[in-house]
Amino acid sequence: ALFRRGLDEAAFEELEERLISADVGVEATMEIIEGLRERVRAEGVTDPEQALALLKEILRLELGVADRTLARREEGPTTWLITGVNGTGKTTSIGKLAARHARDGETVVLAAADTFRAAAIEQLSSWGERAGARVVKQAEGADPAAVAYDGWQAASAADADLLLVDTAGRLQSKRALMEELSKVKRVLEKGAGHTDEVLLVLDATTGQNGISQAQAFQEAVDVSGVILTKLDGTARGGIVIAIQRQLGIPVKLVGLGETVDDLADFDVDAFVEALFA
């Protein structure tokens, strides 16, 4: 140990494994560890504990630059479109958001634009009831774009503060479904003018496919932020690091459970700490 210059390879491998095990991914991990090596060399770090602290600092700084506020508009209902692959927690997240904003005294309208999945409209209606938000809906099988547009008209007519549009889960590799989603946004914007937020709901247990999800949804509807759900489980959601790095898309909210209050703003420090828990 007296003659050891710098951190040994085993220490770097251990840190690599911790990142890989958190779903950070091979490529991002290698880049991050490469950056750490340079800092370790430059600062003459020899203690593995110090290296870990330095790594956390690097990640905090990198993640810290993003703007994580949710966009609002001055005039008319703020419009947020909720998207993502099947089963990630879109409908539940809308329920939580509706309750949060209704509690702040806002008028919230929900558009049930998942006209496809069994009992999707009932599920959203139940959340709407819970939050005291009006739910705009049509029959199952109706055109989702028409429901989204209807939602805008109703929100606008009621001078509501916030419109949340629920959409059906869809795998990003399904071209026709991605085109349908682009159309929902286009038609929604015929009324709304623009979408204040297009949120991609991502399950924290997702592996490397999360990057492909973010890429495809960004291309289809220009994603402005991520809602990272199920962070109350053991998965750490490391995939969002690569998503911010490669695509510039920040996590804005996190889901921490299945009940109405289990929603929080994304906390960079807590996230970085949890990566190495």
Binding site: E17, I20, S21, A22, D23, G25, V26, V85, N86, G87, T88, G89, G95, F116, R117, A118, A119, E122, Q123, S125, S126, W127, L171, Q172, S173, K174, D203, T205, T206, G207, Q208, N209, G210, S212, K230, D232, G233, T234, A235, I239, E258
Partner: protein, 296 residues
Amino acid sequence: ALSDRLEAVLDRLKGRGTLSESDVDEVLREIRLALLEADVNFKVVKTFVARVRERAIGAEVSEALNPGQQVVKIVNEELTGVLGDQSAPLELGSASPAVIMLAGLQGSGKTTAAGKLAAHLKKKGRTPLLVAADLQRPAAVDQLKVLGARVDVPVHAPEPGGDPDADPVAVAAGALKEATRVGAGVVIVDTAGRTNVDDAMMEQATAIKRAVDPVETLFVIDAMIGQEAVTVAKAFQEAVDFTGVILSKLDGDARGGAALSVAEVTGRPIKFASTGERLDEFEAFHPDRMASRILG
């Protein structure tokens, strides 16, 4: 993808009679990276690569393949071996009714899988009864009722607007009586999604299992799950000792490395692949196809 990764390496190793240990390690490095990119758990990758290494270093030089290709062949064989050499069937035995219980994380595809199993069994001439034992997710019971109606299979559920504190364990147990009453030969119990760190919910799953004594307990897991597949699978094995796995959303482009992780750490067979949202998009799991999908 493995093919791209290996192309450069194998090219360099062409024309060599036998592989040195360092040659094998060079190929294995690419295999390791490909498996990690495919979401195979990093500890599973370690033991898997070590096994392949042992076989590759001791291997006789093949007549037909160059040494690099031979390593790839060993990888494919080992992978297919862990995933199961052939499709594992549903084993309902002679119990009547035979009970199938579904369990898994939130959103993995259980309720949809329950509908698919009902359709599948009906096609095979059985008389299924679906049981809506998820009493907590809003409209979960409605969802299963809609699916049941679609495939003309009855659904046992608590009365709508009934006791708000109805107990899933009681509903599931009550379904067995209902099955005998309506002459259903197979009972399919849908349960609420739950996370492995929620002790109360994991205990509920154990209690449901104890109450209905399933002949098959199927763990439903999303093909896009990452490294956590191992921890989650072990926790569910502990709680409900599942007999088989359903891998869902295979119609997407996730590599599905979780299949290898789950099979490796639990030793349980993947019995079905769910390949879409429709109730007929359900098939026997093919280990060989999964192996090449994981390797990319």
